[in-house]
């Protein structure tokens, strides 16, 4: 790590405006860092040439005084965002060679804001996973190592993005969060990850996994950086029917407001029997920090919490089974020749999709099928209403909710792989907010007894990311999380 790769977005913004550095300099430093950290396998497609070109254009704008919100900032782009002219794979064999002739709205907005794309980040295939161990392009390693230098997972699905930011090989990165895919890897890698309100960021051009849950969001080293980046990513998109025609506030402006007088909900259902002791202890510490800063703690109940995971694992696979039907070898990506059309479909999809994706497509197909729709999909959507209602009821008496982000710190690759359900349980604290469409952020708050990062999650009601950022800032200030030493 160099001085330049230790900068946050806010610091870089400052130095760039003072002409103490340049976009090209920053970019070159990161390109070198990426090269040096190949071992992490955080990138599927590094794009150094594109990056340098954009950096040069960025410097020109800086010279003219036309700096955008993220001018000159080198970022990683999760390989789920379609980027024009740059290979986009969704970490899947089935999208071999796919070079989109269009750019996703969010990546375009970041480009228009002046950011520099360093490359496409690795992820769990089609965003399905909590460990980044299902990518066609190989596992991503967490830059934090376990006892005795053991390799750990970075979390998922945005594992490559999280690892890169934590390792200082990207100043920030985009992720997507469907059931926790930004927040959980952020917690595992000791960085900040934000899932905004559903509809805050456009989904146009993002390879769809579960349409009613997917949301793009920033992954950064500081809360301020996340606020800056989220502003650049957000906004109504008429090309996305689920995008909200809602004003985007200046999130950065809310950061210093503190938490005095805010009521913070502590849901009892998030402390099951046998909760990891380190996680529980950190949660208690977090509560104390907020209390010390003038917030009021309120015990609340979110009674349907235990049903969130099974609800999610019906709704998400169902939508995915339909969204992934287009990957059939006809118009793009992998094609495996078969005798007939159906054989071509079946062989292509069998060869192109990994095991976890296939499992979820099959579950999704099953829960939508004749005779099972009512008992599974319809039932799940009803339970989802109840989960949402739990939150809206709670927000009558509190302004924000504090929970742990993940039930454990990062685990070793290979653990939990025999049992899909064990892997799903990683999302137990993040999934409810996804189902309700409310914003959630993870802030690195402390270390486990093995010295691994642990995150705390802040949830607020829809469209209230401002309160969320306020609480995050207070936690960050109190935690003084060290990050990976340079």
């Amino acid at each position: 790590m160099s001085e330049l790769t230790n900068l946050t977005i806010a610091e870089a913004r400052d130095k760039l405006s003072k002409k103490e550095t340049s976009a090209v300099e920053l970019t070159e430093a990161h390109i070198a860092a990426i090269e040096a950290a190949k071992d992490l396998n955080a990138f599927i497609t590094p794009s150094p040439d594109v990056a340098i070109e954009r950096a040069r254009q960025s410097d020109q704008r800086l010279q003219k005084g036309e700096a955008g919100l993220m001018e000159g900032i080198p970022i990683g782009m999760k390989d789920l965002f379609c980027t024009e002219g740059v290979l986009t794979t969704a970490a899947s064999h089935i999208l071999d060679g796919f070079t989109p002739p269009y750019e996703s709205t969010v990546s375009q907005k970041l480009r228009d804001a002046g950011s520099i794309m360093l490359g496409k980040m690795n992820l769990d295939e089609f965003a399905m996973g909590s460990s980044n161990t299902t990518s066609y392009y190989g596992n991503v390693k967490n830059p934090w190592k376990g006892q005795g230098g053991k390799d750990l997972v970075p979390g998922g699905s945005s594992g490559g993005s999280a690892a890169a930011v934590a390792a200082h090989i990207a100043m920030a990165a985009t992720g997507t969060d469907t059931g926790g895919s930004i927040r959980q890897p952020a917690a595992f890698c000791g960085i900040v990850g934000v899932k905004p309100t559903y509809g805050r960021c456009s989904r146009w051009g993002i390879v769809a996994f579960a349409s009613s849950l997917d949301q793009a969001g920033p992954m950064t080293r500081t809360v301020r950086d996340a606020a800056i980046m989220l502003k650049a990513m957000s906004g109504f998109d008429p090309k996305d029917s689920t995008s909200a025609p809602v004003e985007v506030p200046d999130f950065e402006a809310s950061l210093g407001k503190g938490v005095k007088g805010l009521r913070i909900g502590i849901p009892k259902e998030y402390r099951p029997e046998g909760l990891n002791a380190d996680v529980a202890a950190l949660w208690d510490k977090g509560m104390q920090w907020l209390k010390d800063a003038g917030a009021e703690l309120v015990d609340i109940s979110l009674p349907h919490t235990q049903f969130a995971l099974p609800t999610y694992y019906i709704v998400a696979p169902a939508e995915a089974s339909s969204n992934l039907a287009r990957y059939d070898g006809v118009r793009y990506g992998l094609r495996v020749d078969g005798g007939s059309l159906d054989e071509m479909y079946s062989k292509t999809r069998a060869a192109g999709f990994g095991a976890e994706v296939k499992r979820r497509i099959m579950i999704g197909t099953y829960v939508l099928s004749a005779g099972y729709y009512d008992a599974y999909y319809l039932k799940a959507q009803k339970v989802r209403t109840l989960i949402y209602k739990d939150f809206t009821d709670a927000f009558e008496s509190v302004d924000a909710i504090l929970t742990p982000t993940a039930p454990t710190p990062a685990f070793a690759a290979g653990e939990k792989e025999d049992d899909p359900v064990a892997m799903y349980l990683n999302d137990v604290f993040t999934v409810p907010a996804s189902l309700a469409g409310i914003p959630g952020a993870s802030v690195p708050a402390g270390l486990s007894s093995e010295g691994l990062p642990l995150g705390l999650q802040i949830l607020t009601k829809r469209w209230d990311e401002e309160t969320m950022f306020r609480v995050c800032q207070v936690l960050e200030d109190a935690a003084q999380f060290p990050g990976l030493t340079p």
Partner: protein, 95 residues
């Protein structure tokens, strides 16, 4: 809910994913396990509860009837595995 191999084969066909016979046993066990875990939802009382429609409570955005797209067959076909004269091609389908 236990899925037998025949059901798994049917689902695989609906989903157009070739599952070799050798894998059917293992896959049906995995899927049965996942479905068994999901079953707990039946405990929840959802009488008189409306299903959530999508992830948001906004109104559907309407678009004006104007031509704003199309006219770029090269781009549409740019990633096609076997394009011929501006057409996509697939193995012959007999109707």
């Amino acid at each position: 809910m236990s899925l037998d191999k025949a059901t798994v084969r049917k689902i695989a066909t609906l989903a157009r994913i070739d599952v070799p016979d050798a894998d059917l046993e293992h896959l049906s066990k995995e899927l049965s396990h996942i479905l068994g875990w999901i079953e707990q939802l039946s405990e929840v009382d959802t009488d008189n509860v409306a299903p959530m429609s999508g992830g948001t409570d906004l109104k559907l955005n309407w678009r004006k009837d104007e031509v704003t797209d199309g006219g770029q067959p090269e781009k549409v076909l740019a990633n096609a595995p076997d394009p011929q004269d501006d057409f996509f091609t697939v193995p012959k389908v007999v109707e």
